[in-house]
Amino acid sequence: MMQETAAAEPESTRSAQSADEGAPPGSIVTYTVGLVFALLLTGASFIVSQTDLLWAPGVPAGLAVLAIAQMGVHLVFFLHISTGADNTNNVVALAFGLLIVTLIVSGSLWIMAHLNTNMVPMSAILEMHR
């Protein structure tokens, strides 16, 4: 049984290889659908930021959601990140990249927002130098 699959493998490899060397993922339809989604989401972002359609304190959250959705559209329709078997490595790398980005951005904001509470007040510094 093992021999059978081993013997069958080179053929399937060759056909898979020539298939993906010849035909890349995506088609004109994919790109057009992606463009339409991206245009809609961009338009929605501008509308949300310029009108009072959304409850004012919720606007940054709304804009963030729209931006993340549009990045997802770009990844799927333009960069062809998918759940396919030959795409697993790309998805894992993307997940790791997202982890690092989240750590850098949220960590920086967290630390910088609390920096003042741990500092010696300016008046005390002036006192020390006197």
Partner: protein, 213 residues
């Protein structure tokens, strides 16, 4: 995988290669490996941008008595930049697709369009920078403007590098034809160009749309 592990006999000479081919198709093609490597580069580039995004988010309120975002940004202008970049991304995708299908004239037309739209974006951005500097809102005015110019400027520098790369790629296609290695390089270029669009989405939202309110 065709053979279930329970029924497969133990350690034959083939078991090594069988354990590598868990995705079912043997070793990945060169195109997939090249795309993966370039994708890792793009992710590291995005991580570099995230440090500048964090800097901008921390410093965006530190205007030192100078102009803030809502005094400076013109959303009509920014909207035009967004459309330029989005449509250039679209035409880049169509151009790469045309090359794969050996439609050479469609490839040249789409890549010429990509170049024109990318250059238009760059022109709009440089115009904005010149306008800001002329109004005394240059990068040395405040911490907010330093962070703004380094973040937006780095994206602009990436677009400039992308335009140069685009010219090289078109020359390469013209000289060498749609061979495998040329098409792999073009794949990397189109990944780069689309990734710039993703960064622009984050930039548009954080810097311009949230800043202009």
């Amino acid at each position: 995988m065709n053979a279930s592990p329970a029924t497969a006999p133990l350690a034959g000479p083939q078991s090594h290669s069988a354990s590598l081919s868990y995705s079912g198709g043997g070793p990945a093609s060169r195109r997939i490996v090249v795309g993966y490597g370039f994708w890792i580069f793009l992710l590291s580039d995005i991580i570099m941008f995230s440090a500048l995004f964090a800097t901008y988010a921390v410093l965006s309120g530190q205007t030192a008595g100078g102009p803030a975002g809502h005094d400076l940004f013109e959303l009509r202008h920014v909207g035009a930049e967004t459309l330029c970049l989005l449509f250039s991304s679209y035409s880049c995708g169509l151009g790469a697709l045309a090359l794969e299908r050996r439609r050479m004239s469609a490839f040249y037309i789409n890549f010429a369009l990509t170049f024109v739209l990318g250059a238009a974006f760059l022109g709009l951005e440089l115009g904005e920078f010149a306008g800001l500097t002329a109004r005394g809102a240059g990068p040395s005015r405040s911490a907010f403007l330093s962070a703004f110019f380094s973040l937006v400027g780095l994206h602009g520098a990436h677009v400039t590098a992308g335009l140069l790369w685009l010219c090289f790629m078109v020359a390469q296609v013209a000289a060498r034809g749609p061979r495998d290695f040329v098409r792999r390089r073009l794949l990397c270029f189109s990944l780069f160009w689309h990734a710039l669009d993703i960064i622009w989405v984050a930039l548009l939202t954080l810097v311009y749309l949230m800043g202009a309110r």
